[in-house]
Amino acid sequence: MRPENYEAIKQPPSNEFELNFGPNHPGIEGNYAFRVKLNGDEVLSARADAGYLHRGFEKLMEGRLWIQNIALVPRICVPDPVPMEVCYSLAIEELCGLEIPERAMWLRVMQLEMSRLAAHLFAFGGHAATTGMYTPMFWGVADRDLILDRFEELTGGRVYSIYNIPGGVRRDMPDGFLDRLGTLLDYLDSRLPDYDSLFFRNQVFIKRARDVGAMTQEQALKWGVTGPNLRATGLAFDVRRDDPYLVYDKIDFDIVTEPGGDALSRNLVRRAELKQSIRILRQIIKHLPSVKGAVRCPIPNPLAWNVPAGETYTRVESSKGELAYYVVSNGGDKPYRVHVRGPSSMHAVQVLEKLAVGSRLEDVAQIMFSLDACPPEVDR
């Protein structure tokens, strides 16, 4: 007989255990963590543990002037900062009804595509490192650095350029910049076959990445997946084409899709977008000298700038997906409310939690890098 207050001790089965994956882990991207429940090396459930990089951006922006926030926004997403500046500037311009000069639009598109190239080179380099191939990572980072050199020449900053302000861009480009950019593009173009033979057509990578972290198109739409990850499920959706901003409607480029929806397809989409970005930049080099004029429209004194009351939602296509700003102004010199709709907060939390289930432990890092999630943007 057991006494009445007897309770059987609830212990999990001995073959199941929990593992803290991150934040101090070489396989995780940035400062981010996961608690995975494992059976052997099969993931039974995963729980995201975010908040290590939380700085309270949306609250900080309410306490600073409209123009001061320009220096703050690129810090939200570190590998791909330019879309942040452009999107925030577009929101203010829409609230104020500013018409920015055409040359500024072309300069902005040029930076956006340079930033996309840099971010994609970094992303597939990271993915290669998680599958044990370090050479593509070394090459990708070294080639990204050449793009950062051009950024430094154009804007003065390697990573955070803070070049776009409401009303246009800060200054015109230096002499001979487009020639040097063209030389860089030729070099990057010549590197793409090397990347193909080293990584994208490498059987080691293909066998590791095929059918890993796969999702269907319906799931992707339900979970709020955007950007290259959505295009990897076969849906040709791109904000640049479907809701054109700046001068993307004057530029000829393809929306690349892949049918698979797995880690392999997502990387192949990024590989194809490298080619498309180079194509867009070539068109800009050809067209930009014929666009004359100022690079920014006159704006009021930025230190006492009362943006008219109203609210707006602007979106751009960053390298991670659809990035949007919801900005509310009550007519003051500071924003009343700014909400950042970052693509990574969907990819790294709800999508990754679901895709990791059923995969193996060594693939969790691979899935995270194939989704190209950016932890500072998740936490903000």
């Binding site: 057991r2 006494p3 207050n5 007897y6 309770e7 001790i9 212990q11 934040p23 101090n24 882990h25 070489p26 940035g30 400062n31 908040g51 290590y52 990089l53 939380h54 700085r55 309270g56 609250k59 900080l60 306490g63 220096a71 703050l72 810090r75 570190v78 590998p79 970094f122 380099g125 990572m137 070394f138 090459w139 980072v141 070294a142 990204r144 650095d145 950062l148 390697r158 990573v159 955070y160 500072p376 936490d379």
Partner: protein, 254 residues
């Protein structure tokens, strides 16, 4: 009223003695050789705590190539020498940083990269970040900038190498010697029941680094709140015996 508010945080007093000359000349030569070897094989912990970590891949890979100086990333804190704090430190991250720092074997060096570790940087008014890193950990080198270029990172690491070679980089001793000061600041931030699994006071005794600054009112508070770390199975077994009054296994055998 909170008990913690009554206790002031002590001022840090520098009691590090620097490079001690020993009486045996051969021992001095040996010390120099050891320091030279330490400065030339540094493993830095692979922990990207903030946005400055984006400049580390260029610094580590083929363009700037940190490895030619003998610096390599290392995945576990137990085998690492350098803790790089790359950028802003949120409160949640700072707990992990302190846990990681205490796990690292001495001698260990902390490098604060980016302006945010110096004074809060861009996030000086943020509610979620710790502003001044050196209040919580002894920092050897600061590399300012938002963010510092790879050349600046490598230059800072070379400064640290010079300091190690000449025996000046002994800030890790300050953590043991002024533990009450650092623990006080940590308790101000995390609350009075803050504790880590590492027993710093026992380690300070082991290294012979106990000073009158090591123990104080804050360490007394730590010992008051400290719960012994026991294996989970052990405590479960005891509870079972208490409830049932006898060992169930023996009963089954009967």
């Amino acid at each position: 009223m909170n008990e913690l508010d009554k206790i002031p945080v002590r001022q840090e007093i520098s009691v590090a003695e620097g490079n001690v000359k020993r009486s045996n000349p051969l021992a001095n030569v040996f010390d120099e050789l050891v320091r030279f070897c330490q400065s030339r094989s540094m493993f830095m912990l692979h922990y990207c705590t903030g946005c400055g970590a984006i400049e580390l891949p260029p610094a580590m890979t083929s363009r700037f190539d940190m490895e030619r100086l003998g610096i390599q990333p290392m995945v576990t804190p137990r085998q690492a020498d350098i803790l790089l704090i790359t950028g802003y430190v949120s409160v949640k991250t700072l707990k992990r940083i302190i846990l990681t720092y205490e796990q690292m074997p001495s001698p260990k060096y902390v490098i604060g990269i980016c302006s945010c570790t110096v004074n809060g940087g861009m996030y000086w008014q943020s509610y979620a970040t710790a502003k001044v890193l050196k209040e919580y950990l002894p920092v050897d080198i600061y590399i300012a900038g938002c963010m510092p270029r790879p050349e600046a990172v490598i230059s800072g690491l070379r400064d640290l190498m010079g300091d190690i070679k000449s025996g000046r980089a002994d800030n890790w001793k300050r953590y043991f010697q002024n533990y009450d000061h650092y623990l006080g600041n940590q308790q101000q931030l995390f609350g009075e029941d803050w504790q880590t699994p590492t027993d710093i006071i026992a380690e300070a005794e082991h290294y012979g680094l106990m000073t009158d600054q090591t123990l104080g009112e804050h360490t007394a508070l730590l010992q008051k709140h400290q719960q012994p770390l026991e294996a989970l199975e052990f405590s479960l077994g005891e509870k079972r015996e208490k409830i049932q009054g006898e060992n169930p296994r023996e009963k089954n055998n009967e």
